[in-house]
Symmetry: C2
């Protein structure tokens, strides 16, 4: 049956600069991103048949709030929550609804307003054993960093170099929350959040929105001179692993990427540009390896060689990634896709990955209860 699915393409993208917008509503944050995506697609609000909204903690009925803001009410709206993978999950549902032929054109929007929280780390549940033990995200990634350094001889400087690269890319992205280069010394000297992770190795708190318009590939050229095809849309959740687990192997990303590559009929060597979930510096190293961009223990070397910088063999996070572009949770998955689509369309100016034909977006989140991660979404796109 899977053979009867239609090919789906992205015909419009929109995104606001990530930042802190505590005085706006969720609808006001999302509206410019949606309007930009519609304008790029040359599609009217009436042509959108359904709205798929991803958001984690910005209140109930986020999609309806966005629709209200834009005069797009009266359509089916599905709100998806999957922690950091919320809007990538919304995209996945949008994709199958177009691929199945049920809808011809739909809108995806990811939006989050973390400034509602008043700072601090994300809320966890009292039943989450790890969170109750103090192992919130920075602590969890700090342990992963220590173990990785122990196993593979990576240094604190290697970790800090991830943030230097992120900031170098982010400085070229007018939509990044932080657009300022930093030196290795500055990263190392910023205050410690969870040893060995310093402030600049942790993604900032912020608000944001990103949006995409999808339609069947067969109709895409009517709307867009450079549509981008969805080659793979993969979503999975982590396996619960009581007892020992190797914290340097993100099982859900390893498994999810295998399935995504299989769906696309491609391998890691075919990826020209990737956005990965670098919520912390060490995360980027773990995902280089989990996504197959290098072997186990080779991530620091890959970075050192410049392979993952713009101009390198496999540029990762040309947008600045979560570390520099920001990480308004529910908006992140959609924002990664916006970057990849624009890279494949050759529209990224000084941070453009030359000749990029195939791109990958990887997002993973919601580490609860001994899960590696509760939801991981990997999408592969091609021009």
């Amino acid at each position: 049956m899977k053979g009867t699915l239609r090919s789906v393409s992205i015909i419009g993208t929109g995104m606001i600069r990530f930042g802190k917008y505590p005085d706006k509503t969720v609808g006001q944050i999302a509206a410019p991103a949606v309007l930009e995506a519609l304008a790029e697609a040359g599609a009217s609000r009436e042509q959108i048949e359904a709205i798929y909204c991803g958001s984690m903690i910005s209140g109930t009925m986020s999609g309806q709030r966005v629709a209200r803001e834009l005069g797009m009410t009266g359509k089916p709206v599905i709100n998806c929550e999957n922690a950091c993978s919320s809007s990538a999950s919304a995209f996945r549902e949008a994709w199958i609804n177009v691929a199945s032929g049920f809808y011809d054109m739909v809108l995806v929007v990811g939006v989050e307003q973390l400034t509602r929280l008043g700072g601090g780390t994300l809320p966890m549940e009292i039943e989450d054993i790890e969170a109750a033990s103090g192992m919130v995200m920075p602590g969890l990634y700090a342990m992963r960093a220590r173990r990785y350094m122990h196993e593979y001889g990576a240094s604190e400087k290697d970790l800090a170099a991830v943030a230097v690269k992120a900031r170098r890319h982010g400085a070229l992205n007018p939509l990044a929350q932080i657009q300022e280069e930093v030196s290795l010394e500055q990263v190392l000297q910023s205050r410690t959040i969870a040893e060995p992770l310093t402030l600049m190795q942790c993604c900032p708190m912020g608000d944001g929105a990103a949006s995409l318009v999808l339609c069947a590939t067969e109709a895409a050229s009517k709307y867009c001179s450079r549509p981008v095809k969805v080659l793979a849309s993969e979503l999975t959740s982590g396996r619960y692993m009581p007892g020992f687990r190797d914290m340097t192997i993100p099982e859900v990303t390893v498994r999810g990427s295998k399935e995504a590559y299989e769906m696309a009929g491609l391998g890691p060597e075919d990826i020209d540009v990737a956005e990965t979930h670098d919520a912390f510096s060490i995360a980027e190293f773990l995902y280089y390896e989990a996504l197959g961009f290098c072997g186990r223990g080779e991530a620091a070397k890959l970075l050192r060689e410049g392979a993952t910088s713009v101009g390198g063999k496999i540029p990762v996070n040309p947008s600045g990634g979560l570390l520099s572009k920001g990480h308004p949770v529910g908006a992140t998955g959609a924002a990664q896709m916006v970057e990849i689509v624009r890279q494949l369309q050759g529209r990224c100016g000084p941070r453009q990955v030359e000749g990029a034909k195939v791109g990958l977006a990887h997002v993973t989140g919601g580490g609860i209860y001994g899960f590696d991660h509760g939801a991981c979404a990997i999408h592969i796109f091609a021009r």
Copy 2:
């Protein structure tokens, strides 16, 4: 393209008795419902390819928490939020994923733990003008009740009779939160919540879970001797209506039901049994009319004649409805479907609607910002 969708059937249902379970986790509340649905389907946890979870305010990653509780981790999990329509929205996504051929067997679970809130009405957003004006749900429905009484001459006794019927049906349902018949006098004499609505005309606060297993109809008889087909799966959102609107016409249900009937190729006269969103007594009257079970202003008469009682022409809410069965928000849509499926399978004992062949489940919720309702889902099923 819609012609290429596969027919989908329900092969397993599960539900716990709705009630107050403040000491349990979300996973613990949902687990028995899921296990029952799997057992009915004769399906193993391994056969489930994806989990669609609906919940409104029970915390992030509800579906992953349920999966963790049951040893079902490592599968795709999508969490849908659409206020009262959350698990009906999750069902809708589950349905299209099977109908498209992407998955062969999936699980739907709706779960909510309202006791987390410590009582009171549902949280609204500060930006919701109506909520800020004090027009929370009981107030909104009270206004609708007054207008309806004014327009059509319905009396306070007519409204109270909805609760009497709900309690009469609920007393026959071992899964209802409240299983106690009441007299018209008791309903009228219970304390006023929002005039003219008394306590017994408002659904109770509670926790609960319900679950369904879906597969392609072509494979359903392998698992279930009495599979139930999905004839229509309709989801839409309300239209924003500034200025005057007739509060006695639930526009989203009128429009949604038309689309659902069209998808099923049926009309209201073909429905043998229905579960509707009777969060307040007046709501049931409005939905009789919106769903086409009677003409405008005829709802009280329809009830008085006994047409909507078990044994009548079009029994509505044989489960006891939200008023008696309870309304743990995210669980409600799935619970309605469980009732309809079991009615169509002839398994409902003293509240069985004899010979029921076609059933309808209607859920609507999230009234924000001048919306009639933010999300309405209508499903039509047949044996």
